[in-house]
């Protein structure tokens, strides 16, 4: 679960070294993609984004634009030192690489074969699925003291109430001590769960105030 291969796009739209900027931009537009792996004799040799192509050519309205689009070829503007990821790497690793390097798409390479591409949209899709944000649920933000078993105790309150948990994540609380857990419970009426959690000493963060 949550591996690059679960989220990547397998039908990769690629481009060749000698294709023109005009051809590459047309491909981006037609296939609704922004990142093109550059392939030469079945080998990944570079990456080019629509942004690379645009910034290498004169702006719209510039009379020199049409000629430049025909003259510039992909090998002129592509990134050669490509950051790659493997299909069995965790999706959070792909997310972290993209964040660190400020890039929006990574080619997925198995051995020397290009097997897919993973973009920031794929990472967002994974986040939505992970959190169940597209599914009905009640979101409860619960303070979690730093002691072994607190997460299990909170989960037990959901279990005792018969409420299934759509998703759960926990992490450091921003601006507060300790940790916080976000539970998404499959119920329109989390009242009994909240009440029980408060009885056993947990804080459930509700809306600010009237």
């Amino acid at each position: 679960m949550l591996l690059v291969r679960d989220s990547m796009t397998r039908q990769v739209v690629t481009i060749g070294l000698k294709n023109t900027a005009a051809e590459a931009l047309k491909l981006c537009r037609e296939r609704s993609v922004r990142h093109l792996p550059v392939v030469e004799r079945d080998e990944l040799v570079g990456m080019v984004s629509d942004r690379d192509l645009r910034s290498a050519t004169p702006a719209f309205g510039d009379p020199a634009r049409a000629a430049a689009l025909q003259k510039i070829v992909v090998s002129d503007v592509m990134t050669r030192d490509v950051v790659k990821i493997r299909p069995d790497d965790p999706i959070e690793m792909a997310a972290n690489v993209m964040r660190e390097r400020g890039i929006g798409g990574l080619p997925v390479v198995d051995g020397s074969a290009l097997v897919g591409i993973v973009t920031s949209s794929d990472v967002m899709q994974a986040l939505v699925l992970l959190l169940g944000a597209h599914e009905p649920g009640s979101r409860l933000e619960i303070s979690l003291p730093e002691r072994v078993g607190s997460l299990a105790e909170v989960a037990g309150v959901f279990r005792d109430a018969g409420v299934s948990v759509v998703s759960v994540v926990s992490g450091p609380a921003s601006g507060r001590d300790g940790r916080v857990a976000v539970f998404r419970g499959d119920t329109i009426d989390p009242g009994p769960v909240v009440q029980r959690l408060e009885e056993v000493g947990y804080t459930v963060y509700g809306p600010p105030s009237e």
Binding site: A133, H134, E135, P136, G137, S138, R139, A161, G162, V163, S164, R184, D186, T187, I188, D189, P190, G191, P192, G206, P207, P208, S209, E210
Partner: protein, 385 residues
């Protein structure tokens, strides 16, 4: 403005419920109709009964696998581990005897109400048992098994090719089930105004959920801040709903009139008063006359303060639907018959006294935040209709 009104109801519709300890209690339907009667608002209005929805009606928006599971649950059959996969047998949606029949009855009532309005038997119809807007194609959700509005819309589309249907949902919870059923359909406009999903079920219903493909713009969502009061709510309604409806040009309007956005409702964080539940139907009524010869079907929905809020809110709804004046006072006879069973003191006036519900200190801030939400809807969603 006028138009003939009918009240679609029969006692069978009061069987949809999950026991006295469950928030969704059909007693609220009974008490509402008793209040309507005590207030003299049922004189000349017989209850209009309808057929249950058939299996094929339900299959217009639900999967066969799901309908089979609801049928099993209603007969006390089926494996709990299997049913729970379909949202059945949870604390929200218990597998109670007869749940299929009761749910099909409600879908049939709302479908029947829509058919009578389309055929001209009536201009307006109310069915307060309807409004089960969370039911999904293959899942019971949020007390809802079958999506009555979804079934009615799907059938109307078959029976009247090219019909344009507007669905307006002012329940405190996002009208997710109906939205998703018609998310790709530009002939169905869904508008949902609800408490934002930040602290409330189902969590969806952001402005950017605006429909897909050719239907982009035809799912309108106005997520309101917690503690939104009547004034800000109505301001948002006025900014969005008439504009969206006029751009769309409906042939019929179906409204979901959940009243769980009231300040006293135990499940939500909104802060409306009964004025909202009088003003919203009035506006919907007038827009129906302006845009579609008055064709309007009003359903109920959520509402969990069943003593102080629901009977008054939906009596006010019926008064608008049937063009009658709401009395000032709650009839003594109704209070006498119901006070003993109530855990709280029943209200004396049909309309809340605003002095009992003063605005909170953050009211202006909340109204400002809602205004920015509406601006986003105006900028990004409404121009697409």
């Amino acid at each position: 403005m006028s138009g003939k009104a009918i009240l679609v109801h029969d006692r069978e519709l009061e069987k949809y419920g999950f026991g006295p300890d469950h928030p969704f209690n059909p007693l609220r339907i009974r008490m509402t109709l008793e209040l309507c009667e005590a207030a003299g608002l049922l004189e000349g209005y017989d209850f209009t009964a309808t057929e249950s929805a058939t299996e094929s009606d339900l299959l217009t928006v639900h999967s066969l696998n799901y309908v089979r599971r609801v049928q099993q649950a209603g007969l006390g059959e089926g494996e709990p581990e299997d049913l729970v996969h379909y949202g059945i047998g949870t604390p929200d949606n218990p597998a109670v005897p007869g749940v299929h029949d009761a749910g099909a009855k409600i879908s049939g009532a709302v479908l029947g109400a829509c058919r009578m309005v389309m055929s001209g038997v009536a201009d307006h119809a109310m069915c307060i048992s309807g409004g089960l807007h969370h039911a999904l194609r293959s899942k019971a959700s949020g007390f809802c098994f079958y999506n009555d509005a979804g079934v009615a819309i799907a059938r109307l589309k078959e029976e009247h090719p090219g019909i344009r249907i507007a669905y307006i949902d002012t329940d405190a919870h996002h009208g997710d089930g109906v939205q998703w059923m018609f998310y790709d359909d530009p002939e169905v406009l869904t508008i949902s105004m609800h408490e934002s999903g930040r602290y409330l079920f189902p969590g969806t219903g952001g402005v950017e959920e605006l429909g897909r493909g050719a239907a982009a713009g035809y799912s309108v969502n106005v997520p309101l801040d917690p503690f939104t009061g009547t004034a800000s709510w109505l301001e948002c309604f006025e900014a969005v709903v008439p504009v969206a409806l006029r751009a769309f040009g409906p042939d019929i309007i179906i409204s979901q009139n959940g009243c769980d956005g009231h300040r006293l409702d135990p499940l939500t964080h909104l802060a409306a008063t009964t004025r909202l539940y009088e003003e919203v139907p009035r506006r919907v009524h007038d827009l129906a006359h302006e845009l579609c010869d008055g064709r309007w079907v009003a359903t109920g929905g959520g509402g969990y303060d069943i003593w102080r809020v629901v009977p008054r809110a939906w009596t006010a709804l019926w008064a608008v639907v049937s063009h009658q004046d709401l009395p000032e006072k709650v009839p003594e006879s109704w209070i006498e018959s119901r006070q003993a069973g109530s855990p709280v003191e029943l209200p004396r006036l049909m309309r809340d006294d605003p002095a009992d519900f003063p605005e909170g200190p953050r009211a202006a801030e909340i109204a400002g935040r809602n205004r920015r939400t509406v601006e986003a809807v105006e900028r990004r969603v409404l121009p697409l209709i």
